[in-house]
C-alpha cells in the first residue's frame, strides 16, 4: 500500500489471465443469452419486447404456477442440504481432525468417493437400491423386520423430492467435509494447546474454540450449497427425467429452465422464455450471494495465523 501513486502493474498481471478467459468464454456468451429475455420472435424475426417476458413468467398462471412450484421445491431441496448435508459434513470433519485418529486418511477418502461419481452412476444405483421390484432396500428392511416401512419413495409425490435431496446429500457431503477439514487442520497447535491448558477439551473445545475459527469456512459452504442447489439439474434429470415427475413434484428451477430453453419431446425450445427464467434464477442467486458478501462475509471475524 506504500506506492499509492504509481500504477501497480502486478495487480493487472495477476488478474489478466483469469479475467480474459472468463470474460470471453463465460460472461460474453452468458449475457448474450440473458439478453434474449428482452426479445421475442414476432412476425418478422426478433422483436424487442422489454420486460414483457417477465410479465408473462410472473403474471400468466400457465407460467407462474410452474415457476413458483419449481422455486418452492428448490427451496426445500436447499433446506434439506443445509439441515443435513452441512451439519453432517462438519461433524465428520470434526471427528476426522481429532488428533491421533488412526485411519483418518482412509475414512476421508472413502467418504469422499460418492462425490467423484458421475450423476449417471448415482442415479442408476439409487434407483436400483430403492426399486420396489429389484429391491435392495425392501430386502434389507425385511431382514430387520421393518418391511412395512418401505414405500416406492421415488414414485410418490409426497416423498420423491426429499428422497432425491437426501441422495444428493449423500453424494456431496464430501465437499463440506473437505473444506471444514482443511480449515480445522490449519488451526495452529498453539491455539489448541492453550485451550487444553485452560482445561477446555472435547466438545466444549470444539464449540468454544474451533467453531468460531472455522465460521468463515462454514459461510463458504453455505453459500456454495445455496448456489449449487439453485443451479442443480443433473440428478433430477437423470433419475426423474426432464418432466421431473411424479406430477412435477421434483421440478426445480434447473429442470424447468432446461425444458423451456432447450425444449423437450414435442415441446419446442423457447430461448426467449428460457432466458427469462435463467435471468430470474440469476437474480435469485445474485441476491443470495450479495447478501452473503455484503452482510455476512464482512462481519465474519478472520484470524490470521
Amino acid at each position: 500500500m506504500a506506492q499509492r501513486k504509481a500504477f501497480r502493474w502486478h495487480i493487472a498481471v495477476f488478474l489478466a489471465p483469469a479475467v480474459l478467459v472468463y470474460t470471453a468464454i463465460m460472461i460474453v456468451p452468458l449475457f448474450g443469452t440473458l439478453n434474449l429475455s428482452l426479445f421475442n420472435t414476432g412476425e418478422e424475426g426478433r422483436v424487442f419486447v422489454g420486460l414483457r417476458n417477465f410479465a408473462t413468467l410472473f403474471g400468466d398462471p400457465r407460467w407462474s404456477a410452474s415457476f413458483w412450484n419449481a422455486l418452492g421445491n428448490n427451496a426445500w431441496f436447499f433446506l434439506v442440504h443445509m439441515l443435513v448435508q452441512n451439519p453432517v459434513g462438519v461433524a465428520l470433519a470434526a471427528l476426522l481432525s481429532s488428533p491421533r485418529l488412526r485411519g483418518a486418511a482412509f475414512y476421508r477418502t472413502a467418504i469422499f468417493i460418492p462425490t467423484i461419481l458421475s450423476f449417471v452412476i448415482v442415479g442408476f444405483v439409487w434407483k436400483l437400491i430403492l426399486s420396489p421390484i429389484w429391491g435392495i432396500a425392501p430386502g434389507m428392511l425385511d431382514a430387520v423386520g421393518l418391511k412395512g416401512l418401505f414405500a416406492p419413495w421415488l414414485g410418490r409425490e409426497g416423498t420423491a423430492l426429499t428422497t432425491l435431496a437426501l441422495i444428493s446429500v449423500w453424494q456431496f457431503v464430501g465437499i463440506p467435509m473437505m473444506l471444514i477439514y482443511a480449515a480445522l487442520l490449519s488451526i495452529p497447535d498453539e491455539v489448541i494447546e492453550a485451550a487444553e491448558m485452560d482445561g477446555v477439551t472435547g466438545w466444549s473445545q470444539f464449540w468454544k474454540i474451533k467453531l468460531p475459527l472455522i465460521l468463515p469456512s462454514i459461510g463458504i459452504i453455505s453459500i456454495l450449497t445455496f448456489v449449487g442447489n439453485f443451479n442443480a439439474f443433473d440428478l433430477i434429470y437423470v433419475t426423474q427425467g426432464a418432466l421431473a415427475g411424479p406430477n412435477f413434484s421434483t421440478d426445480i428451477l434447473g429442470t424447468f429452465l432446461y425444458r423451456t430453453f432447450f425444449g423437450f419431446q414435442l415441446q419446442i425450445g423457447d430461448p426467449h422464455m428460457g432466458a427469462t427464467i435463467a435471468t430470474a434464477m440469476f437474480g435469485i442467486i445474485l441476491l443470495g450471494v450479495s447478501f452473503y458478501l455484503f452482510a455476512i462475509q464482512r462481519r465474519l471475524r478472520r484470524y490470521q495465523f
Partner: protein, 419 residues
Amino acid sequence: MTKTIRLALLTSTLLTGAAWAQDVTLTIESWRNDDLAIWQEKIIPAFEAANPGIKINFAPSAPPEYNAVLNSKLDAGSAGDLITCRPFDASLELFKKGKLADLSDLAAMANFSDVAKSAWQTDDGAQTFCVPMASVIHGFIYNKTAFDELGLTPPRTEAEFFALLDKIKEDGTYIPMAMGTADQWEAATMGYQNIGPNYWHGEEGRKALIEGTSSLTDDGWVAPFRQLAKWKDYLGDGFEAQTYPDSQNLFTLGRAAIYPAGSWEIGVFGPQIGGAFEMGAFPPPVPAEGDTCYISDHTDIALGMNAATKHPEEARKFLEWVGSSEFASLYANALPGFFSLNSAPVEMEDPLAREFVGWRETCEPTIRSTYQILSRGTPNLENETWTASANVITGAETPEAAAERLQQGLAAWHAPQQK
C-alpha cells in the same frame, strides 16, 4: 513403433489419395444410439458398395439430449449433413428456420403416400422436408407360454380384457401387466395413446379436436382415462417407482404376463428373452363386440438434409436411396417393429412383426393424437398428457379432472378450441 505408425499413416494417405481423391463423408445426426451396430454393419456398407466416393458416418447421441444438441449444433453451424427427423413440429420448426432443406422434388418422394409424408410436411402439405423411414404400432405383447399354461386366450373387447386380467391376478403366478408410472411417458404412450383410438375413433376424433369440433372432456377422450384408472390394480407392487427399463425387464424375465407395447419392443425383447418363453400380440381391445378397431400406427422417424451441408449432391443421392425399396426392406428387417412407410410392400421375416403389421388390414390406423398441431403452445399438450396419464393411474387425479385440466390448457392457446 513410431516408424510403423508413420508408415501406416503414409500408406493409408497414399491409398485413399490415389483411389478417391475427393471422397466425401456425410455425417448423420440421430437419436438412435440403439441402431449404431445396424447402421455400421448392414445399412452403410450396402450404400457405400453401390456408391463409391461417398462415405457415411452415423453419429448418434443419447435420445433425451438429441433435440437440444441438434438445435445447438444447427444454430452454430456444426451439425452433420443428414438430420434424423422427429415427426411434426420439432422438424417443421427447423424447416421454417431454414435449417432443413426442401426435399419436395426428390424423386423418391413418389414412393410415399400423403399420410406417410404428413409428419414432415408444411401444414398445407406443399413442401416435404424429410424422407419417411418408419412408423411404430401400438398394441399388447403377451407371454404366450404363460397364457397357455393358464388356459387364456387374447381378449377382443374391453370386458374380456379385464376378465383376463382378473384371472391372471387370481392365479397369482404372474403380475398381470408390466407398466410403471415413474417415467410418465410410458403411461401416456403405451397406455393412453395405445388404447385411446378405439374410443375417439382414430383420425376422425383427432381431426375433430384440431378443428375444435370436439373437446378433450368429450366421452371419447375421457373413456381411455377411465380405463387407465382401472389398470392400477393389475400392475406390480410399487409401480409408482417402476421405470420403463424395469417394465421391460419384468416382462422379459418372465415375471409379467402382458406388456402394453410399442412395436419397437419386438426387436428388443427377442434377444433378451432368449427363447425362455414365446411371445404373442393382440391389438387394443374394442369397447364392445363388433366395434371397428383402431390402431395407433405412428409415423415416427425420417431423414432430412441440413440446409447448410457442403455436399448437397451426395446427401440427396443418399436420401434417394433411403427412399428406395431396397432401403425399406433392409431397415424393416434389421429393426423388426419399425415398419417401412414405403408404398412398396416389404417382406418381413419376424412373425411378431408380421402380426402387428397385419392389424393394418383389419383396423383403421391413426397417429398419436397430440403430435400434429396440438402441442404447439404452452402448456404443451403432449407433456401434460404424460403427467395426466400417470396421475390417473396412480389415482392422484380422477379421469374427469385430468381431462378437464388438459382441455383448459389446450383452450388457452389453440384458437379453434376457444369458441
